[in-house]
C-alpha cells in the first residue's frame, strides 16, 4: 500500500497538477485570458443566480399549431373538391379531424383527397407513414385525420423555427451573450445574463408578429358583420387599443404578408416627424403589392399585425417601388420593436412564458460575497479542527483537501460548467466528504496501532481497509448526485455537478495523493510511533 514506483508517483502528481492548472484561467484578467491559446480558454461560467440576469422558459403553443394545421387541411379539401368540380356538403373541422360529405360521388372524392396525404420524412424515408389518415363512412361521409407522426413532425418544425426567430429577436435587442436552447419537446429556454428588467424582452417574445396587408371590404355592411353575419370572404378585425379598438371589415384574402419583407427599419415620417417603420418587399411581394394597389386606387387597405389593425390608409396612388412605411401613432421604442419583429419574422405559433426567474446584479454580487465568506470560514474551521485532531497527519489531510478543491475548480473550468449558489454549497459539502475520507483512514490507523501493530504495518493496514469503505460510501453518495443531475434543472443541477465532481476528486486524492504524501513521510522520517 505504501510503495509507489517513481513512475506512478510522477503520474499521480502530474495528474493532480494538470487538473489544478485548469483552474488558473479563472483568476486571470480579461486581457491575459484572451492571450491564452484557444484550447486553454476555458472558464467556469457563473450561473444567472450569481451574475444576475433573466431566465425565461417559453412554450410553443402546440394546440395552436394543431388548429392551424387543421384549418389548412380544411382549405386544402375545399380547394381540391372545387377544382375537381365535386359537389360536397358539411365541410367542417370536428374535434381533431376534418369532415366532408360527397354523397353523389364519394369514391371520386376519396381518390382526389388521398392525393393530399403525403409520405412523411421526404421521398427517401422508408417508414411508410403518411401525413393523413382518411376514412369513409356511410352517406358519402369522408373523415380526414392528421396522423400523430405528422403532427409531431409539424410541432418539431414549429419549435425549430421558433428557436431561430427567438434567437434573431433576442440578438437584435443587443443583449450580451444570450443563450437560447430547446428544452424537452416544445419548450425554449432563453437565458440573458445581466438583464435586469425583462419586460421589454418578454413583450418582444410574446408577439407572434404575423403581418398581413389586406384590402378593406367597402361593399359589405360592417353592422351586419358585427351582428355575426359577415360576408363569406371577409371578417371583422379591430384596431389597436390606442385607436379605441375601432372595428374594420377586412377581406380574408391576403395581398402580401410579412414573409415577403426583406427589410424593416425604424425611422421618422419626413412631414409629420412621427415615428414610423419603413419596409421593403422582395421581388415577389413588390410585384403583387404593385398590382393590387394599381387596381384599388382610392380604396383603403389595412395593415394587420397579430389580428389587430395598425392602420388602414387609403391607396392614393399605385405603390410600384416595392417599399413603404407603416405609421400607427407609435412611440420611438414601439417603432423600434416593430422593426425588430418584422426583420426577425413571424413565429409559427404563439409562445407562452411558463417560467421566469430574474436576478438583479446586486443580489448576485451579495450571494458571491456571502458564499466566499462562508467558504473561507468553513475551510478555516475544518482545517484547524483537522490539525488539532491529527497533528501532522491533519496537515496532510488539509493539503489533500486543498488540492481537492483546486481540482474541482479545474474540472469545472475544463467542462465550462456553470457555478450556481447551491453549487458553492456543494463544494463546501465536498470539503466535508473529502475530510471524511481522511478521517476514515486515520481512525483505522489509530485502531491498528491500538491492536499493537508496528507503525508501518498499521499505516498500511489502515489504508487498505479504509479505502474499501471510502469507495463504498462515495459510490452511494455519487448515485444520489447522479440522480439529482438527471432530474434537476438550473441551480439544483449545478449542485449535483459540483457534488459529483467533488466525489470523484475525493476518491482520487484519497487513493493516490494522501497515500503518496504519507508514503514519502514514512520514507523520510522512518517513524518509531505514529503521531496521529
Amino acid at each position: 500500500m505504501l510503495y509507489f514506483s517513481p513512475l506512478k508517483a510522477a503520474a499521480i502528481l502530474l495528474t493532480a497538477l494538470l487538473v489544478c492548472l485548469c483552474a488558473v484561467p479563472n483568476f486571470l484578467s480579461e486581457r491575459t485570458f484572451q492571450k491564452l491559446p484557444r484550447f486553454a480558454q476555458r472558464q467556469i461560467v457563473l450561473g444567472l443566480d450569481l451574475q444576475g440576469g433573466s431566465h425565461i422558459l417559453l412554450e410553443v403553443d402546440s394546440a395552436a399549431v394543431k388548429k392551424e394545421k387543421l384549418q389548412n387541411l380544411l382549405d386544402d379539401v375545399r380547394r381540391t373538391l372545387r377544382e375537381a368540380r365535386i359537389p360536397y356538403t358539411g365541410l367542417a373541422v370536428r374535434g381533431d379531424q376534418v369532415e366532408v360529405r360527397a354523397s353523389a360521388n364519394q369514391q371520386q372524392a376519396l381518390s382526389k383527397l388521398r392525393e393530399l396525404s403525403q409520405p412523411l420524412g421526404g421521398l427517401l424515408s422508408a417508414t411508410g407513414q403518411r401525413s393523413l389518415e382518411i376514412n369513409e363512412g356511410g352517406g358519402g361521409l369522408i373523415q380526414l385525420r392528421i396522423t400523430e407522426a405528422a403532427l409531431t413532425e409539424r410541432i418539431r418544425q414549429a419549435v425549430e423555427q421558433s428557436i431561430q426567430i427567438v434567437d434573431r429577436r433576442v440578438n437584435e435587442l443587443g443583449t450580451v451573450e444570450p443563450s437560447i436552447q430547446r428544452q424537452g419537446v416544445d419548450r425554449i429556454l432563453v437565458q440573458v445574463p445581466g438583464l435586469q428588467d425583462p419586460t421589454r424582452l418578454k413583450e418582444i417574445l410574446g408577439k407572434t408578429a404575423k403581418l398581413t396587408f389586406r384590402l378593406v371590404d367597402v361593399t359589405g355592411s360592417l353592422e351586419e358583420a358585427m351582428a355575426g353575419r359577415p360576408p363569406p370572404d371577409s371578417e371583422v378585425v379591430y384596431g389597436t387599443a390606442k385607436e379605441g379598438k375601432h372595428p374594420y371589415l377586412i377581406k380574408k384574402q391576403i395581398m402580401v404578408s410579412g414573409e415577403d419583407l426583406t427589410d424593416a427599419q425604424p425611422g421618422f415620417d419626413q412631414r409629420t416627424s412621427e415615428p414610423i417603420v419603413s419596409f421593403r418587399f422582395n421581388t415577389n411581394g413588390a410585384r403583387r403589392f404593385a398590382q393590387v394597389t394599381q387596381e384599388n386606387v382610392g380604396r383603403p387597405f389595412a395593415i394587420v399585425l397579430d389580428n389587430e389593425v395598425i392602420s388602414a390608409p387609403v391607396i392614393r396612388e399605385p405603390i410600384l417601388g416595392g417599399s413603404g412605411q407603416i405609421s400607427g401613432g407609435f412611440t420611438v421604442e414601439q417603432a423600434n420593436d416593430l422593426a425588430i419583429l418584422l426583420r426577425a419574422g413571424a413565429l409559427p405559433a404563439p409562445l407562452t412564458i411558463i417560467e421566469e426567474r430574474t436576478v438583479g446584479p446586486g443580489l448576485g454580487q451579495d450571494s458571491i460575497a456571502k458564499g466566499k465568506i462562508a467558504s473561507y470560514v468553513g475551510s478555516v474551521l475544518v482545517v484547524v479542527f483537522m490539525f488539532v485532531t491529527y497533528g501532522v497527519f491533519g496537515l496532510f489531510a488539509n493539503v489533500a483537501v486543498a488540492v481537492n478543491v483546486a481540482m474541482i475548480f479545474g474540472i469545472l473550468s475544463l467542462l465550462n460548467a456553470t457555478l450556481t449558489l447551491p453549487g458553492i454549497a456543494g463544494i463546501v459539502l465536498t470539503v466535508g466528504i473529502a475530510v471524511d475520507s481522511n478521517v476514515l483512514i486515520y481512525e483505522r490507523i489509530r485502531e491498528e496501532v491500538r491492536h499493537g501493530r508496528t507503525p508501518i504495518t498499521a499505516i498500511d493496514a489502515g489504508f487498505t481497509r479504509a479505502l474499501a469503505t471510502i469507495l463504498d460510501s462515495n459510490i452511494t453518495t455519487f448515485i444520489a448526485a447522479a440522480v439529482l443531475f438527471f432530474i434537476g434543472t438550473g441551480p439544483v443541477r449545478g449542485f449535483a455537478v459540483t457534488l459529483g465532481i467533488g466525489i470523484v476528486t475525493t476518491v482520487f486524492t484519497a487513493f493516490t495523493l494522501t497515500r503518496l504524501i504519507v508514503a514519502y513521510w514514512v520514507r523520510l522520517w522512518r517513524p518509531r510511533f505514529v503521531p496521529i
Binding site: 436576478v359 450571494s367 488539532v388 485532531t389 489509530r446 469503505t469 448515485i479
Partner: protein, 343 residues
C-alpha cells in the same frame, strides 16, 4: 459584527494550532479509545421513539403541511430592496393588497430594506401570472430595486413536483440496488428503512418549522439521503468485516463492537460537516438559509442517530448472521484477511 465574529474564530483557531504545535495539548480525541458503549440495548427505546416520531412527522405532513414554495405550487416571488433604506411594510402591503391579486404575502427578508413578496398563483393560466408581475411592478414603481423576480406557471410547477418526487424515489431505489449487490439483501433493506426514516423525520422538521419547501429542498433531501447512507455504509462495512472475522460472536455484541469502533470516525466526520454547515448557515446569506438549515437537521441530528440506533440494530431483526451460527467454524480466525481494496 460579522467581521468581529470572523476575527474571534480566527484568533481561537490560531491559539489552538499554536498549542498543538508546541505540544502543550495532545491531539484531540473526541471519543476515548476504549469506548464500549452498549448501543444495542437502546434499541428497545430508540425503535419506539423513532416509530412515534415518524408517525408524528407523517401526521404533521398531512395535517400541518409543508410550506410549499412557488416552485411546486406556482405563483410569483419578488424580492425587493427599498431605495430609501428601510422598507415601509405596512404601506407596501396596503398598496399590493389593493391590486386584487388575491393573497399577497410580505415578509422582511434579512436586512430592514429587503422585502420578500409572494403572490399566489393567479387563476387563468400562464399569461395571468405575467400580468400579475406587471401589476406589482407598476404599483411599487421606482421606490425599490428588484433583486429577484421568479414566476412559475401552473404547468411547470406540477412538473417540478413530479420530477422531484420521482427523483427521490429513483435515488432510493438505485442506492438500494447498489447495496444489494455489495452486501446482502438484509443490509440493503436495513439501509432503506433507515433512510426513509431520515427523510420522513426531515420532512416533519420542515413541516414544524414551515421552512420554504422548494427545489433546493429536494436537493437538500437528496444530500441528506447520500450522507446518511454514507454513514450507514461505513458501519455496515465494519459489520460485514466483523461477521467474517468472528463467526461465533453473538449478533448484539458484534454490532456493538462495530458501532463502537467506528464511533470516533462518525463523530469527527460529523463535527467537520457541522463546522462547514455552520459557516454556510451563519454567513451564506438568506438564499441558501433553508437549504443549510434542513441539511443541518437531516445530516447532523438525524443521520448520525439513525446509523447508530436504527440502521445497525435493525440487522438483528432482519436476521443477519443467523445462518452463520448454524455453520459455525472454530473461534479465533487469525488469518484476518483484509477486505480487498483496489490498487
Amino acid at each position: 459584527m460579522l467581521y468581529l465574529l470572523i476575527a474571534v474564530v480566527l484568533a481561537v483557531a490560531a491559539v489552538l494550532c499554536a498549542l498543538v504545535v508546541l505540544g502543550v495539548i495532545p491531539h484531540l480525541r473526541l471519543v476515548p479509545d476504549d469506548t464500549r458503549f452498549d448501543f444495542m440495548r437502546f434499541r428497545r427505546i430508540s425503535f419506539p421513539i423513532s416509530a412515534l416520531l415518524s408517525m408524528l412527522a407523517i401526521f404533521l405532513y398531512f395535517y400541518h403541511g409543508l410550506n410549499f414554495g412557488i416552485d411546486f405550487i406556482g405563483g410569483t416571488l419578488i424580492e425587493v430592496q427599498a431605495k430609501s433604506g428601510a422598507a415601509d411594510l405596512a404601506k407596501m402591503r396596503a398598496t399590493l393588497n389593493g391590486l386584487g391579486l388575491g393573497e399577497v404575502q410580505l415578509q422582511q427578508f434579512g436586512a430592514a430594506a429587503d422585502v420578500l413578496i409572494r403572490v399566489s398563483q393567479q387563476p387563468g393560466g400562464e399569461g395571468a401570472q405575467q400580468a400579475a408581475v406587471a401589476k406589482v411592478r407598476q404599483a411599487l414603481g421606482d421606490e425599490v430595486d428588484y433583486r429577484r423576480v421568479e414566476v412559475v406557471g401552473p404547468r411547470v410547477s406540477t412538473e417540478l413536483l413530479a420530477y422531484g418526487t420521482i427523483g427521490l424515489m429513483l435515488a432510493i431505489v438505485s442506492i438500494l440496488i447498489y447495496l444489494w449487490f455489495r452486501f446482502e439483501w438484509q443490509f440493503a433493506l436495513g439501509a432503506m428503512i433507515a433512510n426513509v426514516h431520515d427523510l420522513v423525520l426531515t420532512i416533519g422538521f420542515m413541516s414544524v418549522t414551515q421552512i420554504d419547501f422548494d427545489l433546493t429542498s429536494i436537493a437538500a433531501l437528496l444530500t441528506i439521503l447520500g450522507y446518511s447512507l454514507n454513514d450507514t455504509v461505513v458501519i455496515y462495512d465494519r459489520i460485514r468485516e466483523m461477521l467474517r472475522r468472528f463467526k461465533r460472536m453473538s449478533m448484539p455484541e458484534l454490532l456493538n463492537i462495530s458501532v463502537n469502533s467506528t464511533l470516533s470516525r462518525s463523530i469527527i466526520t460529523h463535527v467537520t460537516v457541522t463546522l462547514a454547515l455552520l459557516a454556510l448557515l451563519l454567513f451564506g446569506g438568506q438564499a441558501i438559509h433553508s437549504f443549510t438549515a434542513t441539511m443541518m437537521f437531516g445530516v447532523v441530528l438525524v443521520g448520525t442517530y439513525t446509523s447508530v440506533f436504527i440502521a445497525s440494530p435493525i440487522l438483528i431483526y432482519l436476521g443477519v448472521g443467523t445462518s452463520r451460527l448454524a455453520t459455525a467454524e472454530p473461534e479465533g480466525d487469525t488469518k484476518t484477511k483484509p477486505a480487498k481494496a483496489s490498487t
